[in-house]
Every structure is written in structure tokens, then in C-alpha cells.
């Protein structure tokens, strides 16, 4: 692996903008924040996956993956990052290198020819080129190829150095951010700027969530200069350095981008969320305050408060119909993503009960975590092994599981309602409107008569007595908060 990539990763792990990192001692900080993976028990994507996730939503460019087939072939067009126009980003482009390319050292040449073919066929405003394990291992220099291609083709060709083996999806997000900082952001000047221009960092417009938020901003006269990278155009990202405020939504995924944009161009940033009613209000409030501090019209703060009051009222009145139907229902929220926890307060407001694994055996630290959850600050719940979760759901410890696709079948096989709240979901849950959608989906799932029917034993099974499942020693799910 190239020296520069090593240096980059070391630097990324030493992120002054990250509270966890700052709280560490000198020695712990040097180790970085990558958790060692356990072979045979690892789950989740690689750094390449993370880089692709973070950049793919740039809609008008071609994303070209330099590697053997699997990296792109097994994963393209698999998320619902929506576009309001261009569709070029949905093309699965890869060099699909062969054994011969590897043995003969033809990788770089093949990449260059592939870029030429892409330019000839699609004439994109830019190409993003991704390295992968194999092409990094054989030493293909995608930086050099991109530099050369940029000159030859007259369009920016952006190298993204995040081969899978360097680490996790989260590291990949950050490496993608570095690629934007090194090659994209600040390379073009916007045609117009306003005192209320903002960027949103870390939103990928999954299932169109950006469009649940954008009208709120527009109502306030706040102009979204660039969303990095949901529904973005190359030009918007390239001119993002002229915004007045950066809002970072996906926790720490692009914190390096936010901090460095502050260093280079003096753009203040804050971490906020558009999930949940109070979080959405808080985000709008903070945006208004920071914009005014940056010189926007002071009336913005009042307008924001008025909008918040009206929209909160509207959202709650839309939710009212569901309150009696959902009150008392027990929700197992199983996700690492901090943003999903920000819906907790809204669910509780609906009278729903959040359940978690028993805290009796937990350490003080864990208990503190669960307490913090209710403030929307904790990142992880204790992981529950699938066998235990199956038993808990089968036993009826919770009425519904809210999680990502990985645990979908644990719930379904236990004949328990399940709602997808991770990136692969098909519904948009952002802003005030998104909360209404979420609650509507919750209700649709919980009230479906199918659950009663599928839990019923077959007549001959009833005669035999209930067929057992193994829940020995499985801790109970108990209400928290």
C-alpha cells in the first residue's frame, strides 16, 4: 500500500473534531479507532464499500471501480439514493480485471482505456475512480492514471483510494471525504452565492429523504448549496466551499470534511439530525442561528421559530390518529446508527415503549449508555446474538423490531413485525413528514392481520401441544427509559 495512503489513514484516526478521539490518551489515540475484525464473526462492509456509499449519490458522474468483478458486479445499483435528474450514477462501471491483467501488470493501462471508453460513451462532467484490494495490492497507481486522464480528457478524474482491506465502511466514508477535499471541493466557483447558503454533509438522499427536508429550508429562505452527496451534481460539490454553514448529519462519517472545510474556508459546522420531530426542530434552529452569526438577516431566527411551531403542531396533529393504536406497543430498536435513536423520543411521545436486553447484568458503563440513549447520544446497544433475539421475539418480548436488513429474518422467522430503518429501506423517514411516514408504517405493520394468522399453529400441531423453541437462558427484553 502506498505510503501516502498509510499516512492519510493515520491522520484520519487522529481526528481533533471527534470527541471520542480527543478524550483518548496519547497512546490510545495512536492506535487509531479501527476495531480489529474477528475472522468468522465479522459483519459489515469494507472501506471500498464505505467510499462508494459516500460518493455514489453524486448523480451526474460515472463511478468506475478498478478491480476484479466482485467489488462492483456483486454490489451495483443496490441502494435507493434518489436523483432528481441525472441517472448516470446508477451505471455499474468496472474494469473487471482478469488474471492476465494481474500477471502482465496491465491494470493501469486497462483502467486508462476504460476511462476513455466511459468518456466516449457518456461524456460525464467527471469520473470517480475507486481502487480495490487487488489493484492496490498489485500497486496500480490510480492517482497517476487519474492525473494523466484529467489532462487528456479535459474532465476531472478523481482517484478514491480506499481498498477494502484497509478497514471498515466508516473509514471508507472518511477516505471518500478526503478524495473530495483533495480533488473536488473548492475547484469551481459558484455563479451565485447568498448569505443563507448551506451544505449538508453525510446525507445520501436515500429513498428521497432530502426532499422531505428541502421544502423546510426553502420556506426559510435557506439555500441548499450542496448536499454531500445526496442528489448532488458534481458542480455543486465543487463549489461547496462558498457555503456559510455546514450541517453534518450522518454522525461522524464525514467529520473530516466538516473540520477541514472550517480550517480552509472558515465554514462553521454542527452535528444535527433530521430524524425525529425535536431533532428536526433543533437542526432548523441551529442552522438559523449559525447563518445569522455568519451575517444572514436576523429575522431568520424568528421565521425559523414560527415554522418550527407550525410544523411541529401539524406533525403532531397528523400523528394523533395513531396514538391510541400504538400506545403501549413495545419496540425493540436494534441499530448502531445514532440517527435512528433520535426517533426514540417521538415513539415515546406516541406512548410506545422501547425495550432492550436486560440491564441487570450490564456494567455501569452500559447502563450509562442506555440512559444516554434517551438523550440521543449513545451509539450502540449491546449486540444480541440472533438465536437470543429470535427467542425473545418468538416469546413475545417485543411487538415489533426496528432494525437493518441483517436482522430482518430473525424477526420474520419469529413471526414478528419488522420495519427497516437502515440505508436499504424503501421509505423516507426524514423531517416532520418522515416521522409521520414512520408512524404510519409502524401502524400498518403492527395492525396487519397476518401476524395472528401466521402465529397460529396448524391443527395437528395444536393436538400435539406447542412445538418448542429453545429460549433457555435468554434474557428478557425489558422497557428502558
Amino acid at each position: 500500500m502506498a505510503e501516502s495512503l498509510n499516512a492519510k489513514i493515520t491522520a484520519l484516526f487522529d481526528e481533533p473534531g471527534c470527541n471520542t478521539n480527543v478524550a483518548k490518551g496519547e497512546k490510545a489515540r495512536k492506535k487509531g479507532c479501527s476495531k480489529p475484525l474477528q475472522p468468522g464473526a465479522a459483519a459489515g462492509g469494507c472501506a471500498f464499500d464505505g467510499a462508494k456509499i459516500a460518493l455514489q449519490p453524486i448523480t451526474d458522474v460515472v463511478h468506475l471501480v478498478h478491480g476484479p468483478l466482485a467489488c462492483e458486479g456483486n454490489g451495483w445499483d443496490n441502494r435507493h439514493a434518489a436523483s432528481s435528474g441525472p441517472t448516470l450514477y446508477r451505471i455499474g462501471a468496472t474494469t473487471d480485471i482478469t488474471e492476465t491483467d494481474i500477471i502482465m501488470g496491465n491494470g493501469e493501462k486497462r483502467l486508462y482505456r476504460a476511462m476513455r471508453e466511459v468518456v466516449e460513451r457518456y461524456a460525464p462532467p467527471a469520473i470517480f475512480v475507486y481502487s480495490t484490494c487487488v489493484t492496490a495490492l498489485i500497486g496500480d497507481d490510480i492517482n497517476a492514471v487519474c492525473r494523466h486522464a484529467t489532462e487528456k480528457f479535459g474532465i476531472p478524474c478523481i482517484p478514491v483510494n480506499a481498498p477494502g482491506f484497509v478497514g471498515s465502511k466508516n473509514l471508507g466514508n472518511k477516505l471518500a471525504g478526503e478524495a473530495l477535499l483533495d480533488h473536488v471541493i473548492g475547484t469551481m466557483e459558484p455563479e451565485v452565492t447568498t448569505p443563507t447558503d448551506i451544505n449538508i454533509l453525510g446525507d445520501y438522499n436515500l429513498s428521497g429523504e432530502l426532499w422531505q427536508v428541502k421544502p423546510l429550508l426553502e420556506q426559510l429562505g435557506i439555500r441548499l448549496n450542496a448536499c454531500i452527496t445526496g442528489d448532488a451534481r458534481y458542480r455543486e460539490v465543487a463549489t461547496a466551499h462558498r457555503a456559510r454553514v455546514n450541517m453534518m448529519v450522518c454522525s461522524t462519517a464525514l467529520i473530516n470534511v466538516a473540520r477541514k472545510m472550517e480550517e480552509r474556508w472558515g465554514i462553521p459546522y454542527f452535528e444535527g439530525s433530521f430524524y425525529g420531530i425535536s431533532d428536526t426542530s433543533e437542526a432548523l434552529r441551529t442552522l438559523a442561528r449559525l447563518l445569522v452569526a455568519q451575517g444572514a438577516d436576523a429575522g431568520l431566527i424568528v421565521r425559523a421559530e414560527n415554522l418550527i411551531e407550525a410544523e411541529e403542531k401539524r406533525a403532531w396533529s397528523r400523528l394523533d390518529a395513531y396514538r391510541s393504536r400504538l400506545a403501549g406497543k413495545r419496540v425493540l430498536l436494534y441499530t448502531g446508527g445514532v440517527k435512528s435513536w433520535s426517533i426514540v423520543s417521538a415513539l415515546q411521545e406516541m406512548g410506545m415503549v422501547i425495550v432492550s436486553t436486560s440491564v441487570r447484568k450490564s456494567t455501569d458503563n452500559d447502563k450509562q449508555k442506555i440512559k444516554d440513549l434517551m438523550g440521543g447520544d449513545a451509539h450502540m446497544v449491546n449486540s444480541i446474538p440472533p438465536r437470543e433475539m429470535y427467542a425473545q421475539l418468538r416469546r413475545g418480548d417485543a411487538d415489533i423490531l426496528l432494525s437493518g436488513g441483517r436482522t430482518q429474518f430473525v424477526a420474520l422467522k419469529a413471526r414478528t413485525p419488522w420495519l427497516d430503518i437502515n440505508q436499504e429501506r424503501h421509505h423516507a423517514f426524514a423531517g416532520y413528514d418522515g416521522m409521520v411516514t414512520l408512524v404510519r408504517q409502524l401502524d400498518a405493520s403492527l395492525s396487519n392481520p397476518v401476524w395472528k394468522d401466521v402465529r397460529r399453529l396448524a391443527p395437528w400441531e395444536q393436538e400435539d401441544g406447542e412445538t418448542g423453541f429453545d429460549d433457555e437462558g435468554v434474557p428478557a427484553l425489558v422497557p428502558i427509559g
Binding site: P39, G40, A42, N74, A93, R113, R121, C133, G167, K413
Partner: protein
């Protein structure tokens, strides 16, 4: 004989292929209490896992040796060892199938040798059968991975023929990667109807068919049992489906001495007839009435269906044996194959596809070919949806992955009954496209203008020149 064209393009745009390790994983999932393990970086597993879950809509127990930067530099043997020990400790599988990925293969690791040493020094692995197939992502696709894994299983787990083995009324079946759980179930029924006991390797009919189990199972939900695999030498015959299963079939014959027949396809009247008559010959039994009736229904379906196939222009992109099977089917029903795109070029069935040229390419080749030829139907996996939308041509989803349809595991295409249902599926899709006629559909009926310039002569020339 079709000419096979290997493209010279450097970029694969909208790939048709899924990777070889994924094919191997699917095969390993057809073994009872099995877990597939990818030897490589964790992303390889993650992508394959997500894709398989989207296709089957089932939990897929796929694991990874999670090679990081250190392992990439120093070698992955200790990761392989740790992964095997962890899996055995946590999930107690009966079988672990290892598929190598491009990362370890590019490093040139001797994974076979590593595995041997690991098995020798870890007594806690003794209860678990571990098999390894070499499946670098940069060579081949699903078919190659599936076939390599099957061959590896045969080499490691089938007991060679010996005089003590008693022949049994058993038929071995080596299905191709393009067979669905429903296909395998149908084959089982056909074989059983002749009084035979089928041993199907790999058998995904119970592990990937989508059913609710009585408890949480961390491994595959079903599949060929290890004892059945060990006893494959007891069979009287082996049936392999698809040219890509020829190598596994040859290996099985070499190990067991059981003769094998490779069926290039089992879709269509004639191939089904061949299967049924082989079974009748081997069993010395008459063809059961149920199969005779299914044959009669298929012939009727062909008669009813041919109206809708005749003259239709079909563009197909698929893995080679599926491409061959579908191309035979469509052209046998009267449609013409205007574009044939194969994911890989090594399969000998490709040259027997009823077209002039078969292009080894991607879905952009399919799109361009279909546009140029004015195709009436695109036939490929779900990723063809973008092309279908751009061209305004209907898409029939076949192969892997199909992530935007339910019930994929229950689509049946083999034998009389499977062919019958395939005919109806396609004919119905064509019927959807038929429209009520208007005057604009009959432009060719408008008489050519006749301009008389002088008596007895037409403007277009003299009669003499006609």
C-alpha cells in the same frame, strides 16, 4: 455453430456477471448444516451476502476470514484458522465450505496447504467437514464457482468405489447453478416416480426455498446430508445439468465409477423426453401415468403458446448454460434470438446456441444489441431493468440476481411441467404487450402511388426492366 466474440472493451458497464465465490457460496448452502466462508477481505462477503439476501429473501449464513492490511501483507492463513475455529465454536456447523477470493489468489497463497495444516493441528475441527475451492473473482462467474465448489466437495467427501459398496436404487443429480429450488424439487419428483432415491448435490431445494423453521438455525436450513454425499458411489447413474457441470460429473465418475449423463438443458419437450426415457431405461419401469399426462399438457401448451412466440425478437443475456437453455427454448417455440450475451466465454454449449454470434459481454452490450435489432423482449436478471426502461421493452427476469420480484425460488423451468409453466409465463408477458389495432398499424396496406406519365408506361420504369 455460433461464433463466440470476446469483446476488447476495457470497461465492463452494467456487469452481467456475479462473481465466482458467490457461485461457490450458493453451492455450499446446498449442504446440510453448512456455512460458506469467503477467504478474503470482509467486503467481498458483505456484497455477496447482501445480493443473495435480496435474491432469496432469506437469511444467508455467509462468513468471512476478514483479512485486513496486516493479513494482506503477511498472508491470510492465520485468519483462515481463526475463522474456522470461531465458526465451529459459535455455530457448530457440520460443514464449512471455503471459497477463496481474488485477494488471497493474487497473493498466490497456498490455501489448500494452509487448510491441511490447520486441520491437522486443531482437533476441535475434527467433527466438521471443511472443503476448499479456488475461486478467484477475476476468473469465471457464478457457473465456475458453483462447479468448482461441487468438484471440491466430491473430491473431499465422496467415498471412492470399493467392492464393499452395494449398488442401490439411487440416482445422483448434479444440478447447475441456474436451477431453482423448485426445479430441484421437480427433478426429485420425476426421479422418485421411477422408484429411485435421488441424491442431489448441491441441494438447495430445502435450504433456499423460503420456509419457516421451528427454531433459529445459524447454518443452512437444509441440503444434501454428509452421509448421502459419502455414499454417492452406491448410485446406478449420475445426471448432470448444464455443460458447466461436466467437470464435476467427470470427477464423480472417476471417484465412484458411476456412469454419468450430462444434459445440456432440461427445458423443452425433447430434453424432457430424453430424461424420462433414460430413467425408464435405468429402472426398467414404464413411464408413470402422471408424467405421460404432463407431457400431453406440455404439447398442448406448445400449441396454444406458439402463436405468441412466432416472429418475436428476443434479446438474452445470462450465464452460458442458462443462455443456451433459454435460447433453445425460445427458438424452439418460433422466436428468433436477435442478441445473445454470455457472462463468460469458456462454456462449450455457447457454440450450439442458435444464433450467428454470441458476445461475451455486459448489459450495455445487451442494451445496444437489443436496440439495434429492435427486440420485443429482454431476458436477463434484475439489473436489466435500467436497459428495459430506457428501451421501453419488457423485461423477463431470469437467473441471478432477481431482487425485485417475489417467489423466484418457486419458478420452475425443467421437465414437462416446468417447460409448460415457462411457456405460459412468456406468452402472458407477450400478451400484455399486444394492443388493439388502428389504421396506423396498416401502413403497408396503402397502395403504392401510381403515376401515369404516358399511356401504357409507369413512372417507375418500363415493364421490360421488371
Amino acid at each position: 455453430m455460433a461464433t463466440i466474440i470476446q469483446r476488447r472493451k476495457a470497461a465492463s458497464l452494467n456487469p452481467l456477471k456475479s462473481s465466482a465465490p458467490l457461485g461457490a457460496a450458493l453451492a455450499y448452502l446446498g449442504i446440510e448444516k453448512g456455512i460458506p466462508l469467503f477467504h478474503g477481505a470482509q467486503g467481498c462477503t458483505s456484497f455477496a451476502l447482501v445480493l443473495s439476501v435480496r435474491h432469496f429473501k432469506e437469511a444467508i449464513p455467509l462468513q468471512t476470514t476478514a483479512m485486513d492490511e496486516v493479513a494482506t501483507v503477511l498472508g491470510g492463513a492465520s485468519n483462515l484458522e481463526e475463522a474456522l475455529l470461531t465458526l465451529v465454536r459459535r455455530m457448530k456447523p457440520g460443514f464449512i465450505g471455503v471459497a477463496t477470493t481474488a485477494l488471497v489468489e493474487t497473493r498466490g497463497e497456498d490455501s489448500e496447504g494452509d487448510l491441511r495444516l490447520i486441520m491437522e493441528r486443531n482437533p476441535e475441527l475434527a467433527e466438521t467437514k471443511v472443503v476448499l475451492a479456488s475461486t478467484p473473482d477475476y476468473a469465471g462467474a457464478l457457473e465456475e464457482g458453483w462447479a468448482s465448489a461441487t468438484t471440491a466437495i466430491i473430491n473431499s467427501l465422496v467415498e471412492p468405489w470399493s467392492p464393499s459398496i452395494r449398488a442401490f436404487q439411487q440416482i445422483n443429480v448434479l444440478p447447475g447453478v441456474h436451477q431453482t429450488p423448485a426445479d430441484i424439487e421437480a427433478l426429485r419428483e420425476i426421479i422418485e416416480s421411477f422408484g429411485f432415491y435421488p441424491v442431489i448435490l448441491p441441494d438447495i431445494s430445502y435450504s433456499l426455498d423460503g420456509h419457516i423453521a421451528e427454531s433459529w438455525v445459524p447454518t443452512s436450513l437444509g441440503g444434501t446430508s454428509l452421509s448421502e454425499i459419502a455414499n454417492m458411489a452406491r448410485a446406478v447413474h449420475t445426471i448432470a445439468i448444464g455443460e458447466h457441470m461436466r467437470a464435476p460429473a467427470d470427477t464423480l465418475t472417476a471417484v465412484t465409477g458411476v456412469p454419468a449423463t450430462v444434459f445440456p438443458t432440461l427445458t423443452g419437450l425433447e430434453p424432457s423426453d430424453r430424461l424420462v426415457s433414460l430413467l425408464a431405461r435405468l429402472s426398467l419401469r414404464p413411464v408413470p401415468g402422471r408424467l405421460r399426462r404432463q407431457r400431453a399438457q406440455l404439447v398442448d401448451a406448445m400449441l396454444d403458446g406458439h402463436f405468441h412466440f412466432g416472429g418475436k425478437r428476443v434479446a438474452i443475456a445470462a450465464d452460458p448454460d442458462l443462455l443456451f437453455s433459454l435460447a433453445q427454448f425460445f427458438s424452439g417455440m418460433g422466436a428468433s434470438i436477435v442478441t445473445a450475451i454470455a457472462s463468460t466465454g469458456g462454456n462449450r454449449s455457447l457454440q450450439h446456441i442458435p444464433v450467428e454470434t454470441v458476445v461475451v459481454g455486459d448489459l450495455v452490450d445487451l442494451e445496444d444489441g437489443a436496440a439495434q435489432a429492435g427486440a420485443d423482449l429482454l431476458v436477463t436478471h434484475s439489473h436489466g431493468r435500467q436497459a428495459a426502461a430506457r428501451l421501453g421493452v419488457p423485461l423477463m427476469r431470469v437467473g441471478f440476481p432477481i431482487f425485485d420480484r417475489l417467489g423466484v425460488s418457486h419458478e420452475e423451468t425443467v421437465g414437462y411441467r416446468g417447460t409448460r409453466s415457462l411457456i405460459f409465463r412468456v406468452a402472458n408477458q407477450f400478451l400484455d404487450e399486444s394492443h388493439a389495432c388502428g389504421p396506423e398499424d396498416f401502413e403497408s396496406a396503402i397502395p403504392a402511388p401510381v403515376i401515369i406519365t404516358e399511356e401504357g408506361r409507369h413512372a417507375s420504369g418500363t415493364f421490360a426492366t421488371h
